[in-house]
């Protein structure tokens, strides 16, 4: 059954919601049920309120079978205290896109049910064999699934040297040294021991809550270099990553200073964020304080969770959007084009509009194809019993912040209220409108078909590296159409614990032709294409 989900503007936001209800130009419908997506995110909930229980919900949108249709992978929790997947309800799930909004559960056949308590997922072709592989994070162990290209995956974690412990939330594939092979950055959260979970809340009243992160020690992140023979080498220390200990939840990879080398932003929970600037010699410098993104303008380290680094304002420079908890306001850092950021949380209205939302996953995508990237956030409070001690809501609706093209956003809420966590994006039906998959704790996954009525035009690009890594992750794309110039880059890293389709999508408004397309490949090759017709996807190979 189809239900129309995006119903109106945020009630009470009189300062901003100038348009009448029903006129919001971005619309989604939840097709999960009819599409055969029955996945329920099972966190193995306990009365002890173990910290892990509020964190899962990884989602990946990737084309595992190379049929041109993006598929869906969802991570899951495990039983406690064993942290094992003791029954089918805890399995991670892979759904194959059959077309026409029908999906088939191929988890068993593909062999990707996971093990342990899982969180994030990152898709990337680490061995350049033309098949997208999966890295799945977890507590006390991560998993690297190699895609064999025959519909099945094999667990190569140990052979790859990625069988470490700790608590990893998310990960991203990137080619930090531009050697043509995808390396791996793994974001770790906190030191956690289920046998020593502190009691937080009001004990006499029997009101137990998840503890504040300050009760847990921070951890360093890990950078693994792809040695090219199926083996990864931990280079965290020599690369200058291990020196920075934080409470990482989100990662965004981009090139904030435009020097052609990928930089890494890590969103930290209640401690200052990290921005690792690529020194172009295999090392990084942590420059978040210097560049103005460690803390907001109030000097407060907020509960940063999801993050995206994209060119929101079409300036040619990548900005940062960060989700956090209700009462903190989602952050928006504008890239000033000189290697620094200026916070525009309030000026953009994102701050005022997000005050009562706890955001986890997010995406910066042009949903109405008007040439301006919008923001989607998957919302839900960290606590499940928020109503019992405050005026906040534990279950929240997802949100779309539409970019008005003048530095501001307008808000509409999407779907049903739930404990939403991860979200990933892809165009499941190839209609040129980017769709979304949203996970929710204890709830059924949402498959949100983008049904926006806009007649705007679009192009999307699937790039194939030859000298560069095969996924072309790190390629920068500039599109000129209808007098507008837009930039984006190839990445699968997405928001919180998620991985989106690597296809790069541009809305081009009323223009019917892309006048000029420039691709700056990670190898350094610069490719220019002119006069591309609109409303189609192009597969482009890196020239020799």
């Amino acid at each position: 059954m189809t239900s129309l989900l995006l119903l109106g503007w945020l009630a009470g936001s009189s300062a901003h919601s100038a348009a009448p209800a029903g006129t919001f130009p971005i619309v989604f419908e939840d097709l999960a049920q009819q599409a055969g997506l029955s996945f329920v995110l099972n966190n193995g909930r306990t009365p002890e309120k173990h910290q892990v229980e509020t964190m899962p919900g990884g989602v990946a949108v990737f084309d595992y079978d190379n049929d041109g249709l993006p598929d869906i992978y969802l991570t899951n929790g495990a039983e406690q205290p064993s942290l094992t997947k003791t029954r089918a309800a805890f399995q991670n799930r892979l759904y194959r896109n059959l077309g026409n909004w029908r999906f088939e559960d191929v988890t068993e056949k593909a062999g990707v049910g996971g093990r342990g308590y899982n969180f994030g997922v990152a898709a990337g072709d680490f061995d350049n064999d033309g098949n997208e592989d999966l890295f799945v994070t977890g507590v006390n162990g991560n998993i690297l699934y190699r895609n064999r290209g025959d519909g099945r995956f094999e667990d190569v974690t140990k052979a790859a040297g990625l069988d470490g412990g700790g608590w990893s939330i998310t990960a991203a594939w990137l080619d930090y040294d531009r050697d043509g092979r995808l390396d791996l950055f793994v974001v770790d959260y906190v030191r956690w021991d289920p046998d020593h979970e502190p009691y937080c809340g009001d004990q006499p009243a029997g009101l137990r809550t998840f503890c504040h992160p300050r009760f847990y020690a921070p951890l360093a992140n890990h950078l693994y270099h792809n040695e090219g023979n199926g083996v990864f080498r931990d280079v965290s220390k020599q690369a200058g990553i291990a020196d920075a200990k934080g409470k990482g939840m989100g990662i965004a990879v981009g090139d904030f200073d435009g020097d052609g080398w990928p930089d890494i932003f890590v969103a930290n929970d209640t401690v200052p964020n990290f921005l690792f600037h690529n020194n172009r010699d295999g090392t990084f410098s942590e420059v978040a304080l210097q560049t103005g993104v460690a803390l907001n303008d109030d000097g407060t380290p907020v509960s940063s969770m999801g993050v995206e680094m994209r060119d929101v304002e079409n300036t040619g420079h990548e900005d940062l959007v960060i989700t956090d908890l209700a009462g903190e306001r989602f952050s928006y850092f504008h890239n000033d084009g000189h290697g620094s950021f200026v916070e525009r949380t309030y000026q953009s209205r994102l701050g005022g509009l997000s005050y009562r939302l706890s955001g986890w996953g997010l995406g910066v995508v042009d949903f109405d194809n008007d040439g301006w990237k919008d923001i989607f956030t998957a919302n839900g409070d960290v606590q499940f019993n928020t109503e019992s001690y405050s005026s906040g809501d534990s279950r929240q609706r997802s949100a779309v912040f539409r970019n008005d093209g003048h530095g501001g956003f307008d808000l509409a809420l999407v779907g049903e209220a739930a404990l939403h966590r991860g979200v990933a994006f892809g165009d499941f039906d190839g209609d040129g409108r980017v769709d979304a998959v949203v996970s929710a704790l204890g709830g059924r996954v949402e498959l949100l078909k983008n049904s926006s009525p806009s007649k705007n035009h679009w192009v999307s690009l699937r790039l194939f590296g030859t000298k560069s890594n095969r996924d072309a992750i790190g390629a920068r794309v500039t599109v000129e159409a209808g007098g507008m110039r837009q930039t984006d880059h190839v990445t699968t890293s997405s928001g919180y614990a998620a991985s989106s389709d690597r296809v790069v999508h541009f809305g081009i408004g009323t223009a019917r032709v892309v006048d000029r397309l420039v691709i700056e490949w990670p190898s350094g090759i610069r490719q220019t294409v002119s006069n591309l017709a609109c409303d189609r996807r192009y597969d482009i190979r890196e020239p020799n």
């Binding site: 009470g12 304080l289 620094s340």
Partner: protein, 279 residues
Amino acid sequence: MVASGPGDLLDSASAAYRSNRLAEAKMLYQQYLDRVADRADVHASLAACDLSLGDLQAALEQTQLALRMDARLVKAHVLLGRIYTNTQQWRLAQESFDRALALNSSDRDGLYFSGLAFHEEGQLQKAVERFLKVLAAGSVEGRLYNHLANAYALLGRSQDADAAFQRAIQLAPDDPEILLAYGQYLIEMGRGNDGSKLVRRSFSLRPSPESRFVLARTLYQQAQYAEAAALLEAGGTESDCRVSNLLVKIYREQGLRQKAQAQIEKLTACLVVGSNATP
């Protein structure tokens, strides 16, 4: 000042309390109680002094003493609620306020402080209900509308918040706290130009560290870097992480690398101290 009889002592103590001469008021109440020990209401007044002076233990002892003498003393129940509010014992606080309101359902202080406690606890809807009851009881004060507006703002009821802020300003046009609160609210809602005018007026009336910081932050966000830096520098930056953080950003925009670096070092030290804080 030398007071002759117990009645004079009490009058003088009350006058001192109203004038915010708290230490003097406390001394006079104690002198009175040395002579007349069985006045529950005076023990409550002494407790109010202790509470205002931040001596919660003494305030608690005097309040409990007052309630042992007179369990129906509304003022003492309210004080007990305020003491528990200070220690974030929300349930005990509201039980005390409820006892006060059971004795007098329109007691202004009982409703008002209960509303503040609900607000602080995050129970904003209940805070609003209490503030509206104070208004219904006939208390028309700028500060009250300010609290109401803040609660509405946090609930996302921006039209109501705007109206309550405007009423607060109307009632107390020169109250720096209200001007700052409304100004900050407008800035956060993306109305920076309107908000900064109010913040600037608040700062000119009473240059508190908070109004100084908010004004400087707004000026920075409006690219008025020199004035923002001057404001913060004039206020001193000792052990204030947020001031150092803002100065880093301002100096960076001004191209003052050395000054920015000095603030980064200060901020780094400040953040290390913060991260070592005991949970």
